[in-house]
Amino acid sequence: MLVTASGRFPIVRHGEHPLRGALEAWRMRGATTPESALRDPQILAAQAEATRTLLAAQEAEGVDIPTDGYIPIYDEWFAWAPSLAGIEAGGHIRYLDTNTYYHRWHVTGRPRRLGAGPAVAALQRALALTDRPVKPCLYGPYTLWAYAVKDGSAGRAGVFDAFVEIWAAEVAALAAAGTRYVQLDESVLLRARHRADFPLVAAAIERIAAAAPGITLILHLGCGAVGDLLEPLLSLRGLGGLGLDFTDVYRAPNLAALACWQAGILLQAGVVDARGVQIEPREAIHETLSRVTAYVPAERCLAAPSTGLHYLPYHTALEKLGALAAASRSFAASGREVMA
């Protein structure tokens, strides 16, 4: 059973922000637009250094498939917008129930990819720093579309189609840059009012997977119960893995849903809570893994946090990751997954 991380990391330790100096210098130079920060050499260098630290931290904690350690300027949505035509980074909106705020996209015309987004550069940086397979984690097209202001002329369906085209090209670019895994986060799909849009997401995933057939495309659905969506998800062509949340109130319903698991794809099992500060005891992680592997073979499971760890303080995030890796290894060594 391999261990992976699920998204972005916290970066500020005891008040020290690794990009602070570069950001202050950028401001002192009289930068006029936030977008100019995305091309600032000093900020880019600080980002690279922070990536090195985050990759080393993941390796030290025992993560087999680390994330790219990407630290976006402002946020991932904001940072990607300048690489696209027909999109402007708009005002803030709160993401799910996380008390974090992203720049929602404002669709001003038919969206189009102008070039590689920042995730490709982040992947290349990370691959130069580690021999481990690096997993870029992106929000998916449905999430950005659901949160976008869509008053452009392209129409809602046309805009979504354009989004999927962009993601297909981006994931293909990530594959060409050397990744074996890509995680797309579409957790918003599990919210009640979005579940009816499953056909949209399904078609999008199949199209994106077809654009990069050599990689394992993992659809991450955190902070929710998958319920009756699991069965149709498992039949999606090209889907290589599914990330589910087995913590907090989602543990019981998602374990129950696993009864219909009959696929050969990976299950990225979120077994430590990325939203709470309690460090899960080894026995609790073993118990969850035991329940999970009753339905999904251990060799098809990735042990993971329930979602990105950037909602937690730095020291807690790393402690959780360490606890996860240690418990997963001892679980595998105990052979309990065979007994389950």
Binding site: P10, H14, L23, G91, T100, Y101, A192, Y311, P313
Partner: protein, 332 residues
């Protein structure tokens, strides 16, 4: 008491802090000098009161200059939480230390009455006091103590209630209880029920002469409207400077009730670009297509703490100018 004019203008709560105060608050606790910090906070509140008076605001706020955050101020002050040393990402390049609830309130006591008296002694304008609601207090903290979310929220409602009762006794007429987290679990009816029940408990027994306001921001309002009207508030201050088509649509389908007041956000609280007076006027006129002038209060989208001081002041001035222009048009 000064009566509020048509289209009254007020801030939402927070205002930018002087850099020296921010730096002093960031120092390790053992290095902080309590008396010096208190003096800086008082000076900052007094400064913002003068600025708001000069700008022509109708209802002033204290700018929350004495709060490190809208969550930790209360949780720490009541003695039920500790601060985690590593701050957590909130947005852009902003990070914030989060409180961790570790016990029941050790010293529940009113935190705000002294500040209300401080404000009252320095301005002739009516003041609006701001409190964070129990649902948001739990949602935006970590919890190591309570057995469940409802248990935590309802316990916090009791502490908020004590605070509100003390403010009522001190003579507060305008009390805003912020519940921005109300919009986050919009499709979980039991969560909305919990937030509503907690706020009802928090305001139980407050005098009818007190105007209760609530504030929400940066969420999909159309998902919780009209359910949000079950919250026990007369004035709903919402972030609407960039109102989404969905929100405007739902306001058309379910007109805002005549016995409530909409505090329409007409100034962006995050973007440092200062909106022109005409731009703000246009937003006010848009608001007036949804509610009558008597039902409309004007405010920024949210607290202005994230903005540079000069831009925040300029935004307040332009907001007042726009309100006065539209007010004149309404009364002719």
């Amino acid at each position: 008491m000064i009566a509020l004019p048509l289209l009254p203008v007020s801030g939402i709560g927070s205002l930018p802090k002087p850099p020296a105060l921010v730096k002093a608050e960031m120092a390790p606790m053992h290095e902080q000098e309590c008396d010096a910090l208190q003096a800086m906070r008082e000076a900052a509140v007094a400064d913002w009161l003068a600025i708001q008076e000069e700008a022509g605001m109708d209802l002033v706020v204290d700018g929350e200059q004495y709060r490190r955050s809208m969550i930790t101020y209360f949780l720490e002050g009541w003695g039920c939480a500790e601060l985690d040393p590593d701050p957590v990402w909130v947005m852009d390049n902003m990070y914030s230390q989060r409180g961790v609830i570790v016990r029941a309130a050790a010293r529940p006591r009113p935190l705000l009455t002294d500040w209300y008296r401080f404000v009252g002694a320095r301005t002739h304008l009516p003041a609006k006091l701001t409190l964070t609601g129990p649902y948001t207090l739990r949602d935006w903290a970590f919890d190591r103590y309570y057995a469940s979310r409802p248990a935590a929220v309802l316990a916090l409602a009791e502490y908020v209630r004590e605070e509100a009762q003390a403010l009522a006794a001190a003579g507060v007429r305008y009390l805003q209880i912020d519940e921005p987290a109300f919009v986050t679990r919009y499709d979980q009816p039991e969560e909305l029920d919990l937030a509503i029940a907690a706020l009802r408990r928090a305001v139980e027994g407050l005098p009818s002469t007190m105007t209760i306001l609530t504030h929400m921001c940066y969420g999909a309002f159309h998902e919780v409207y009209p359910r949000m009207l079950d919250l026990p508030a007369r004035v709903f201050c919402l972030e609407l400077a960039h109102a989404s088509p969905e929100t405007l649509d739902v306001l058309l389908r379910y007109p805002f009730p005549a016995d409530r007041v909409l505090g329409w956000g007409v100034v962006d609280a995050m973007d440092p670009r200062v909106e022109a007076v005409e731009e703000i006027e246009a937003r006010i006129r848009l608001a007036l297509t949804y509610v009558r002038p008597e039902q409309l209060w004007l405010n920024p989208d949210c607290g202005l703490q994230a903005l540079p001081r000069e831009q925040a002041i300029a935004k307040l001035r332009n907001l007042v100018a726009a309100a006065r222009n539209v007010r004149r048009q309404c009364s002719t």
